[in-house]
């Protein structure tokens, strides 16, 4: 009741006529004020991200347990990954996080063209990340390193016949241990695949945001959507920050 009185008293052409009673169009009626609304949205976003932490945490835990059990298989599997592509992808994703952070700043300071530019750059860098991931997946498919009926143990039983295994100086694994490289690649595809799915969802939302931003939706004071999407995008970046060393780097010196 007090809410509707406040709106009625504010002159429609001047949103600040009512002083602190003013009511921006984007303020939902069940919130006291804009600050409370933004706090509630940010809090909810963090709760969602914590469920995501638990979800990816399960995958990370599985990876650590199996790596501990089948250590030689995980080392040999890790040697199949290309550090160059992994590093480039890390740089691409960190840069996309930076452009997203700049996008949030542009929205906060009401710079419409800057915001659109930042969102487009983030969009392109996100696609670039997926493109590089595709190159890596393609190599795994060609070498029959995708778990399933066509999985090949050749790289691990005869490392000299495999360029990557030979370069890493791998010794042939015993057949039962070589079979466990399939566990490594199962986790590799589960973790990078779930991460890539989050990227795809993020890129889709970015596409929607670019259209809305061009219409000026986020540069008139209501930045909650851009801000909370930024949180999501940075979270996806953090997942990759941990995936990169765990999958690519820590098994380079197995002894």
């Amino acid at each position: 009741m007090s809410d509707s009185t406040a709106i009625a008293h504010a002159a429609p052409d001047d949103p600040h006529a009512g002083g602190h009673e003013a009511h921006p169009a984007y303020l939902r009626h069940h919130f006291e004020n804009v600050e409370q609304q933004a706090d509630a949205a940010g809090f909810a976003m963090w709760l969602f991200l914590l469920t995501e932490v638990m979800f990816f945490g399960g995958l990370f835990t599985a990876y650590l347990i199996y790596r501990n059990w089948y250590y030689p298989a995980f080392v040999a599997g890790s040697h199949q990954l290309n550090i160059f592509w992994g590093t480039l992808n890390t740089a691409v994703l960190i840069t996309s996080s930076f452009t997203m952070a700049m996008g949030v700043w542009c929205a906060e300071t009401r710079k419409k063209s800057g915001l659109v530019l930042c969102l487009v750059l983030t969009f392109i860098l996100g696609l670039g990340f997926l493109g590089i991931k595709t190159v890596e997946y393609k190599e795994k498919i060609e070498k029959h390193h995708v778990p399933g009926f066509h999985y090949s143990l050749n790289s691990f039983l005869n490392p000299d016949s495999d360029a990557e295994a030979k370069a890493a100086g791998d010794k042939p694994l015993a057949p039962d241990m070589a079979e466990h490289t399939e566990v490594y690649f199962s986790l590799y595809f589960a973790m990078t695949g779930m991460h890539a799915l989050h990227m795809i969802i993020g890129i889709a939302i970015l596409g929607y945001m670019i259209f809305r931003a061009r219409a000026g939706a986020y540069t008139s004071g209501h930045v909650t959507f851009v801000e909370n999407f930024g949180l999501y995008w940075h979270f996806v970046d953090i997942i990759w920050i941990f995936l990169f060393p765990l999958l690519y780097l820590i098994s380079r010196h197995p002894n």
Binding site: F43, W46, N68, S97, F98, H234, P245, R252, H253
Partner: protein, 105 residues
């Protein structure tokens, strides 16, 4: 106009682009450092260094890109509680699995 500006400042801390540039640069440098360190022979410290650098990078992203340093106490508490629960769960699980064979050889 100044009233409106003051109101916005009190509600919402705007992180300056300078901070973003410094943090973005630091993240790229740390990526280079962790890749470089993976080529060194550090024995047991190879994974430790790699995970430590990843943790530093994640903390930088959370504090600055995700604005937690400038957020309300509620947000800080939420993030801390979530990570604490996560580490309690992963810690208990791993200490179980990693010690099952102790004393059996």
């Amino acid at each position: 106009m100044t009233d409106q500006k003051e109101m916005e400042e009190s509600q919402h801390h705007i992180v300056s682009p300078v901070v973003y540039i410094i943090i973005g640069g630091a993240l790229l440098v740390l990526t280079g450092v962790t890749v470089g360190a993976s080529y060194l022979e550090l024995k047991i410290f190879n994974p430790i260094v790699a995970i430590a650098i990843a943790c530093i990078k994640a903390v930088l992203v959370v504090l600055f890109f995700m604005h937690v340093k400038y957020s309300s106490k509620l947000t800080k508490l939420t993030v801390f509680c979530g990570l604490f629960t996560f580490f309690a769960l992963i810690g208990m699980t791993l200490s179980d699995y990693f010690t099952r064979a102790w004393g059996r050889w």
